[in-house]
């Protein structure tokens, strides 16, 4: 883990996140949202969790970003709302950030250097998913099925 790589990915991710939060055009924001997830998976690679980084790229850039772009195209609001930004949210966000920074700075015993570990292979994750984490895996399967059916029912045409 090098500090240079960390700083580069941090600036990239935070710039993309700020663009996604503040750009007035919805489509530009959605595309910066996808770019931000490239940076976040960069952090996962940096921290040695390669599988999570790849899952993040597949799920977010491959599925969620495309879903958001489809929704934007399906619900095109032609009335451009100029005064859509409200400063109350910015004040709350800055207050929460200050509180979190205060809490992190007050915590004394945070470890400074990561210990040496053997890399987490996909085989290890698969074995854990089939042994220790088999109940959460089944629950996530049920949840995803319920979300699929629920999303379909929500957007189904109502017969009137």
């Amino acid at each position: 883990m090098s500090t240079v790589a960390f700083a580069a990915i941090a600036i990239f991710t935070l710039a993309a996140a700020l663009a996604a939060a503040t750009l007035p055009k919805l489509m530009h924001a959605a595309l910066s949202f996808a770019v931000m997830f490239v940076g976040i998976s960069g952090f996962f690679f940096l921290l040695g969790a390669e599988f999570v980084g790849l899952v993040q790229i597949f799920v977010y850039i491959g599925a969620v970003a495309v879903l958001i772009v489809f929704t934007i195209l399906l619900t095109r609001d032609d009335v451009e709302n100029v005064r859509s930004f409200q400063w109350g949210g910015a004040i709350v966000a800055i207050a929460v950030f200050a509180g979190l920074i205060w809490a992190i700075a007050k915590t004394k015993s945070l470890p400074l250097t990561p210990p040496q570990i053997e890399p987490v292979t996909v085989q290890r994750i698969g074995e854990l998913l089939m042994t220790n984490y088999v109940w959460p895996l089944q629950c996530v399967g049920v949840l995803l099925t319920a979300a699929l059916i629920g999303a379909l029912i929500l957007v189904m045409e109502e017969k009137s």
Binding site: I40, F44, Y60, D77, A90, P111, A147
Partner: protein
């Protein structure tokens, strides 16, 4: 020279607050969903960072929790965007200020 745990925590705090800013200050429903996804991703960075800096990461618990969190976030995004489309069909708008039918 390696980045410390504090740097990762500060970065994910910043990302969380940018997501909060997007969810609170924008009036468009899709922006609110983008903000919520951003906050979930910041929480995932914390899971992975705490796992990596823990003294004995024998079991990759943080990795497993992050994988399940990503799956749940994907389900949340699918249902949320379906709700945006359903609301748009009723009101012809995705501005959350105009959805005030339940207001007393």
């Amino acid at each position: 020279m390696t980045p410390t745990l504090q740097l990762f925590l500060i970065l994910s705090a910043a990302l969380f607050c940018i997501g909060l800013l997007a969810a609170l200050s924008r009036r468009h429903a899709i922006f609110i969903l983008i903000g919520i996804e951003m906050m979930l991703a910041a929480a995932n960075i914390n899971f992975i960072a705490f796992w990596r800096f823990a003294p004995q990461p024998a079991q990759p618990t943080g990795v497993m929790v992050a994988i399940f969190a990503i799956a749940i976030a994907a389900a949340e995004a699918a249902v949320g965007l379906a709700m945006v489309i359903a609301v748009y069909r009723h009101f012809r708008s995705t501005n959350v200020d105009q959805l005030d039918r339940l207001k007393g």
